[in-house]
């Protein structure tokens, strides 16, 4: 085998590819060739590295130097400095916000430092398209052990003992699920993988499927042996083309190597896997709807029981596990249940991957031990709130989850503690919001999504989510009435109690949590016609505080509708008739002289602004 002195692990996850990885790769290969280094230094394309905000990113081994925001133009200089002259190139290294010193080593960068990688153990370390690299990192050894040295009962016991719970959102113990299915007598059983990741802002499963497809397949092989299945399907949405491509490639490699098909590793165990591409309906992430979709029917849920472990796909016993759950199976078999339990809490063991997005500095994919406080994820790994703004809420669990306020930031991330806040851990979407977010608008955003994605089978969800959405729209547009909040809460509880599947049973959560923690915002929308965040256009009036305005003209230039007038160095004024409420002036002003008043406010702004300031101080 050829020897290289360095491996350049260039991220080819969807995020980095979108920001130009392929151009960077071409430039790298060309420059290394020009300098005669192509036989010494190897460029490897990896799956998602996780630090999507800084892409395209690249890790250099053995030096462990991390480069970010690469461009093709910078490559010649980088190659000359680092790979020819041996001087790591500072310009492209990570720098902490507001600090100038570059941090060369990947393990020193705060974003990576606090993470513990189990699900993402191979991220950025292997080429996902090469099965040999997966095997080189202990891949398929656990499957070999499970198939040749363990009974189904032993496998199930280890998984039960590990405490692993389904990472799709509900958190049901995986070993128990397998146990149910293994005890049902049937000639045919199905082992299914749920890759229908649908929460807005969530991309954990996509990254695993792209960066380490074999880890999912290996989990399925072990699960199949445990429940006694010979046929599996991976359900992936068609909007994930790269995941589909890499999974298919991995499946083909497995058939060639005899890791799928007949008599796997001479163990006399047979298992076939096929990919089924979904059309991207949110409800198809629900297990019974997903199974109907694979059957070729319209993806709609059905009442349970019977549970899929008895009657699932084509009425045969079936187990459906989430991508992230399956990716953890091989290491559990390899290292044992105790190893797995060594992280996390008593009831929420191991690690969880989160897709950290929104108003944080470091957007990306993070894996942390369960039980760490939300604050650590947002401030230490996420690097705090963007542009130094104030934290307002963190949304967990997507459209089925809820918003958690600042007062609960020390909540440990476990299934139980998060449910107590009214949100759910869910599949791992974590959207951070700053003080420019309107909570009524946030609830409305998620209800628009669920009302749209409701399959229409049961009335509580179909009609109920529509009524909730209409009421929220009324409140956001200034037609809210006294008593609306109580009606919303009442209806939300009825929908939760009577809906057929998880979609309807959780859809009202965003409303309930925002009312629970941000009731005053609903009230000011309804009573005062005032969206204090300045997001709901009909409930907002922008006004320049003449005492603070320096007349710099920045807002005047930023205004797209010429609604601001004023002479240089004299206070400016907004012509309300022309204002389109685009917030440009508000975002631009350096002196915080632009204030948000209730729509059509005719009283003395200073009185109101003063009152608002007082109220804010009181809160703090």
């Amino acid at each position: 085998m050829e020897k290289f002195r360095a491996n350049l692990m260039l991220c080819a996850g969807t995020g980095c590819v979108a920001s130009g990885t392929m151009k960077v790769k071409a430039a790298l290969v060309e420059e290394l060739r020009k300098r005669g280094l192509e036989s010494e230094i190897k460029v490897v394309l990896t799956g998602c590295n996780g630090y999507c905000a800084e892409g395209p990113v690249m890790a250099v081994y053995p030096d462990e130097v991390f480069y970010q925001k690469l461009t093709a133009d910078e490559i010649p200089k980088l190659v000359e400095e680092h790979f020819l002259k041996g001087r790591p190139y500072e310009k492209l290294m990570f720098k902490e916000p507001e600090k100038k010193a570059a941090i060369p080593a990947m393990k020193e960068i705060p974003f990576f430092k606090h993470q513990v990688l189990r699900v993402l153990r191979n991220k950025g370390l292997i080429d996902p398209e090469k099965i040999e690299e997966y095997i080189a990192r202990d891949g398929y050894q656990p499957a070999a052990r499970a198939l040749t040295q363990m009974t189904a009962e032993e496998i199930i016991q280890v998984v039960k003992d590990s405490g692993l719970r389904g990472r799709g959102g509900a958190g049901f113990p995986t070993g128990v699920k397998w146990d149910f299915a293994s005890k049902v007598q049937s000639d045919i059983k199905f082992m299914l993988c749920n890759g229908d990741e649908g929460d807005p802002g969530a991309f954990m499963d996509r990254s695993v499927m792209e960066a380490d497809p074999h880890s999912v397949i290996e989990g399925m092989i072990i699960g199949a042996k445990a429940i006694g299945s010979n046929k599996g399907y991976i359900y992936v949405r068609a909007e994930y083309p790269l995941a589909v491509k890499r999974l298919q490639l991995a499946i083909d490699q497995c058939y060639e190597a005899g890791l799928l098909g007949k008599n796997i590793l001479d163990s006399s165990f047979n298992f076939d896997v096929e990919i089924y591409q979904g059309a991207g309906a949110f409800v198809c992430g629900e297990e019974t709807a997903l199974m109907r979709s694979i059957e070729g029917k319209r993806g709609m849920p059905r009442p349970r029981p019977p549970f899929p472990a008895q009657k699932g796909l084509w009425d045969k016993p079936s187990v459906l596990n989430n991508v992230e759950t399956l990716a953890q199976i091989a290491p559990i078999i390899l290292n044992g249940a105790e190893w797995y339990r060594s992280l996390g809490t008593e009831k929420s063991t191991g690690t969880k991957v989160f897709a950290l997005t929104g108003a944080v500095n470091n957007v990306g994919l993070v894996e942390v031990p369960m039980g760490i406080p939300l604050r650590t994820i947002i401030y230490d790994i996420g690097g705090g709130i963007r542009k130094g703004r104030k934290f307002k809420a963190v949304q967990l669990g997507g459209p089925s989850g809820g918003c958690i306020p600042e007062s609960l930031l020390y909540t440990p991330v476990t299934y139980e503690d998060i449910i107590a806040t009214g949100a759910i851990v869910g599949s791992g979407g974590m959207v951070v919001m700053d003080d420019n977010t309107c909570m009524v608008g946030t609830a409305k955003f998620f209800l628009e999504f669920t009302a749209d994605e409701s399959c229409g089978k049961c009335p509580p969800c179909r009609v109920g989510t529509k009524i909730l959405l209409d009421m929220l729209t009324d409140i956001a547009e200034g037609r809210g009435k006294e008593g609306d909040i109580e009606t919303l809460e009442d209806l939300a509880r009825d929908i939760i109690a009577t809906s057929l599947c998880g979609l309807g049973q959780t859809a009202p959560n965003p409303i309930l949590t925002t009312i629970r923690y941000f009731k005053d915002e609903y009230e000011s929308h309804i009573k005062d016609r005032w969206c204090k965040a300045g997001v709901c256009r009909d409930l907002t009036m922008f006004w320049i505080d003449e005492k603070l305005c320096k007349g710099c003209g920045a807002c005047l230039r930023a205004c797209p509708s010429k609604a601001i007038m004023g002479e240089k160095k004299k206070p400016h004024k907004i012509i309300q008739e022309l204002c389109v409420h685009c917030r440009s002036c508000y975002e631009t002003c350096k002196f915080k002289s632009i204030k948000i008043l209730p729509a059509g406010y005719e009283g003395d702004p200073y009185e109101l602004a003063g009152a608002a300031e007082e109220a804010k101080k009181g809160e703090a």
Binding site: M1, E2, K3, F4, R5, A6, N7, M9, S39, E40, Y61, P62, D63, E64, F83, L84, K85, G86, R87, L125, I131, E132, E133, I135, A136, R137, D138, G139, Y140, Q141, A144, T148, Q253, E256, A257, G258, L259, L265, D266
Partner: protein
């Protein structure tokens, strides 16, 4: 890829060991070739090429090679530093392709520093 047997999994892992030693760490020896302008002008490229050739030939998996800038002793370039885990590093000076081959065999593989080419023993470590 042919059908795998269980023992093949371990063989594949062994075959890729060198590459993953690079990526995961855990190497036994590290050779740093000083590649400042002075080093390159004095022939550090030949040293590097010869070294990579030796490593490929010897089929070792726990040795890594890295580069660094000028070591500050431009007159004695090309310089290379050999660090074997748990023993003091050795700096070699005025080396060339032939000398590094000898150093590789004697010091890296054999464990005996080549005194006649050595500049100093026990300077700063980088691990």
């Amino acid at each position: 890829m042919p059908r795998l047997k269980i023992e093949d999994l371990q063989k594949i892992k062994e075959k890729h060991k060198a590459e993953f030693t690079l990526r995961e760490g855990g190497y036994r020896a590290k050779i740093t070739v000083h590649m400042g302008t002075c080093g390159i002008a004095a022939g550090a490229r030949d040293v590097m090429t010869a070294l990579m050739d030796e490593i490929s030939g010897a089929n070792v998996t726990d040795v890594i090679v890295t580069t660094s800038g000028c070591a500050g002793l431009c007159a004695r370039e090309p310089l290379a530093t050999v660090e074997i885990m748990n023993s003091p590093p050795v700096k070699y000076c005025d080396i060339n392709g032939e000398k590094i081959r000898e150093i590789f065999k004697e010091h890296i593989l054999g464990g005996n520093p080549v005194e006649k080419y050595a500049l100093v023993v026990g300077s700063e470590t980088t691990y």
